[in-house]
Subunit: 189 residues, 2 copies
């Protein structure tokens, strides 16, 4: 989907506004394995995923990769906390497959928001939607067992489960790959 189309679905845009938006987002192509952002940098851009798939992960105190999110087409991706606070990020965002992005810098978002004031509403809605996703995830991690979390993911995001290495899914669920392997076997019965 085009980024202006996506925004238009949320806040109606006039044709010249659509063009203005399309010009503000620059095309970026990532090959499988390429990084959108690496830990230690300040993330000053946000991207709309046109096609492909990415993974957001960080390295915990024990040195393990912990997957925070998978990001698929028609959604926004960024190290948002770094982006919003201008502090170096702990997150890495990498392409799980060849991926096409439309990228906009913080500066350009601000300029676009002056040109098109209702972009403020759009930005608010995006932030609110991210919040809703986060809250769901917290409830899952806080009150469900690993087994329940896996079954829920199997039901709600089978396409991710099937397309990414098991170890990524494991850390996303907050468990070790060995334990996920065990849960899978139990579930086969």
């Amino acid at each position: 989907m085009m980024v202006s189309e996506y925004i238009h679905q949320i806040i109606a845009l006039l044709q010249p506004e659509k063009e203005c938006v399309e010009n503000a987002f620059k095309k970026m192509e990532l090959s499988k394995g390429d990084f959108f952002i690496k830990q230690g940098k300040v993330c000053d851009q946000v991207a709309f995923v046109v096609s492909g798939k990415l993974r957001n992960f960080y390295i915990d105190d024990a040195g393990n990769e912990v997957t925070c999110f998978f990001v698929t087409a028609d959604s926004f991706v960024s190290a948002f906390t770094s982006f919003l606070t201008n502090t170096p990020t702990h997150e890495n965002i990498t392409a799980l497959e060849d991926t096409v992005l439309r990228v906009i810098s913080k500066k350009d978002i601000e300029e676009l928001s002056i040109l098109i004031p209702k972009m403020q509403i759009f930005r608010r809605i995006i932030a609110e939607n991210l919040f809703i996703i986060m809250e769901k995830r917290i409830m899952m991690l806080q009150s469900q067992s690993a087994h329940e979390r896996y079954e829920k993911m199997l039901k709600e995001n089978p396409e991710i489960l099937l397309s990414v290495p098991l170890q990524y899914t494991a850390s996303f669920l907050g468990i070790t790959p060995q334990h996920l392997s065990r849960l899978r076997k139990e579930l086969q019965k």
Copy 2:
């Protein structure tokens, strides 16, 4: 703090705008144990906590209360997901002590946002800040042990730990009261 003051700290308000904001938020007083919202209802208001303390919890599949958040003075409280999606909430929000709120309805927020367009920016920033808090919490739940989570809370929110019943803290950390009691004893050594 007055709610207009709080907002003013984030987006500068003119004196008449401050008054406009103060009028839009209605005073509400809760006694200890009173509910701001109960599960099953659609939450159509947001409150600024002037003084007091609240707890946000839901009942999980096993029938246990699970504490999602503690909310203290000078922050906003609501069943945000319900508020944003107009769906019945699973959350309960209750006063842990006598509490003074300034409450605004969804309708009034929209009207206020038309009168004072920069309220859109404020609303976005609030949503973004909630997102940042959520993300931190996810990382904690996903990659740290109960012991580490407790120590972190002890360091960062001792005032909450000391003022709420242990069982609330336990479910907030994602563990049983018995296990928290055990962790505490270990830490005393």
